[in-house]
């Protein structure tokens, strides 16, 4: 089977037009790949561009140069040049993403937010909700919150909704941006367990974990991002 995710010579900079066109290089010459069943962790100091890399891999940030090759339904797709429609399909079926913060949709319940990635792929609403309930109870989210929109939830509660949403599908690639940052020890354990399960299922995981304890337990490999820093070279 092809390597699910290959990043090759990727470079990224921001042009700050509102600051007189200042060019802000972020990273360059990023090269790595993630194998199926492996959890790679991006390491390096804050501001080294770890989050930017994840966002590029999700198609959220554009890429200046280089390739992001994703094995999407048996075909290799370069996300760096893919059109929006392809990116949306890759997100629906291939790359999952757990962001740091939950983007809340007014009036949609926590349960439906978690279930949505499944219904978007054609699972019946009942089946999707049943799976969402399993995940939310595994993550110890109080049952009385399930039918409420998460706008008023605490940071930790929102993050658990976010994790459940990210983990509900069987995407072959999963990107994790500090999924355990605002969780207590008990729920951290749950998330670590969920990551282990994903690995066993052959999912390629790439994450950012500031919590050293978590990092050491889940990481098969650390990719040091400071080596890609564009500022050092500039």
């Amino acid at each position: 089977m092809a390597t699910p995710l290959v990043v090759s010579e990727v470079a990224k900079s921001f042009t700050m037009h509102l600051r007189g066109g200042t060019l802000l290089p972020v990273i360059q010459d990023v090269n790595f790949s993630v194998k199926a069943g492996e959890c790679a962790v991006l390491g390096g100091p804050s501001g080294a561009g770890k989050s930017s890399i994840l966002k590029m891999l999700f198609g959220n940030y554009s890429v200046d140069s280089g390739q992001i090759l994703v094995n999407h339904e048996g075909r290799v797709i370069d996300l760096a040049t893919a059109d929006p429609r392809t990116v949306i399909q890759v997100r629906r079926n291939t790359i999952g993403y757990v962001s740091q913060f939950l983007r809340v949709v007014p009036r949609v319940s926590a349960l439906d937010i978690v279930a949505e990635p499944l219904t978007a792929r054609g699972t019946s609403i009942e089946a999707a909700r049943a799976r969402a309930e399993e995940l939310l109870s595994a993550l110890n989210l109080p049952r009385e919150l399930w039918l409420l929109p998460p706008a008023t939830f605490s940071g930790g509660e929102q993050q658990r909704v976010n994790i459940a949403r990210g983990f509900i599908t069987d995407h072959p690639i999963l990107l994790l941006d500090e999924p355990t940052a605002s969780l207590d020890a008990k729920n951290r354990e749950v998330v670590i367990g969920m990551i282990e399960e994903k690995k066993k299922a052959g999912v390629a995981l790439l994450g950012i974990f500031h919590d050293e304890d978590v990092r050491e337990r889940v990481a098969d490999r650390i990719i040091d991002v400071s080596g890609f820093s564009a500022r050092k070279a500039a």
């Binding site: 700050m16 966002k55 940030y61 554009s62 949306i88």
Partner: protein, 258 residues
């Protein structure tokens, strides 16, 4: 990936005398896709919307629509009878001001039922049942079915306008600032409703808005317009989180944080 675009727009331009309405706009719209056109007042977004929906005639370029029979038809050369039939069956148009899209002096039920009667439905009971069903979907109580929209609040009118448009199961809906002029809480409800309907029905939507939050919530893809030109075009969250053009950066940085 084997499916075909619903709308193919090729180098569309519209001039008002010497002034540019919109210029050289090209894109494809796919079934089920929501495209937001953003920009400030006067940027040409409404002109573009009107050219796409044949409410205005473009000076240059073409708009082709994938008809239900599988053929692509150039909208500019389509006979008017056929175009108007298309507009009231396979298309919807949601105006910013609901009074522009509703018949204010006939009941809510008749407003929704009109399109059915226009395509030949002649059974009162069935028309009423369908209209009631749609009022329910846009959260208007059945007890308001025989009231005129004059007696409705702004948010209700807008929801009624949406029901009126969707009753014939269109494949493409144009929306011009659908949440403009509504209270924030009413906006949120309406946005959520539109979002749900678009997902459930697999509608393709072209929505014009100056509100980037609306664009983010509703759309898959967005085009940023300035002075009649499309200056940036891409995945909605990409354009909003990593804007490339100076104007887009200004637009994004001008959003008030609550």
């Amino acid at each position: 990936m084997s499916e075909l675009p619903l709308l193919k727009v090729h180098e569309l331009s519209k001039f008002y005398g010497g002034r540019i309405g919109c210029r050289n706009v090209s894109f494809d719209l796919w079934p089920g896709e929501v495209l937001a056109i953003v920009g400030e007042s006067g940027s040409g977004k409404t002109t573009l919307l009107n050219c796409l929906s044949t409410r205005l005639t473009a000076d240059v370029g073409s708009v082709e629509y994938h008809m239900r029979d599988g053929q692509y038809r150039n909208l500019a050369t389509m006979p008017e009878a056929e175009r108007r039939f298309l507009m009231r069956t396979d298309w919807g148009f949601v105006h910013q001001n609901p009074a522009d899209g509703l018949r204010m002096t006939v009941s809510a039920g008749a407003n929704v039922g009109e399109r059915l009667m226009a395509v030949g439905e002649r059974h009162y009971g069935r028309i009423r049942e369908t209209a009631g069903d749609w009022l329910g979907r846009v959260e208007i109580g059945l007890d308001r079915m025989d009231d005129q929209p004059r007696a409705f609040s702004g948010g209700m009118r807008q929801r009624l306008q949406i029901a009126r448009n969707l009753v014939t199961s269109p494949r493409l809906v144009f929306m011009d600032e659908p949440t403009g002029g509504l209270d924030v809480s009413v906006q949120a409800r309406l946005l959520d409703l539109i979002r749900g309907l678009v997902q459930d029905l697999g509608l393709a939507v072209i929505v014009v808005t100056h509100d980037l939050a609306v664009a983010r919530l509703l759309s898959h893809r967005m085009m940023v317009m300035k002075d009649g030109h499309v200056i940036e075009h891409g995945l909605t969250d990409r354009v909003l989180d990593d804007p490339r053009e100076p104007y887009t950066q200004l637009l994004v940085s001008s959003i008030l944080q609550v």
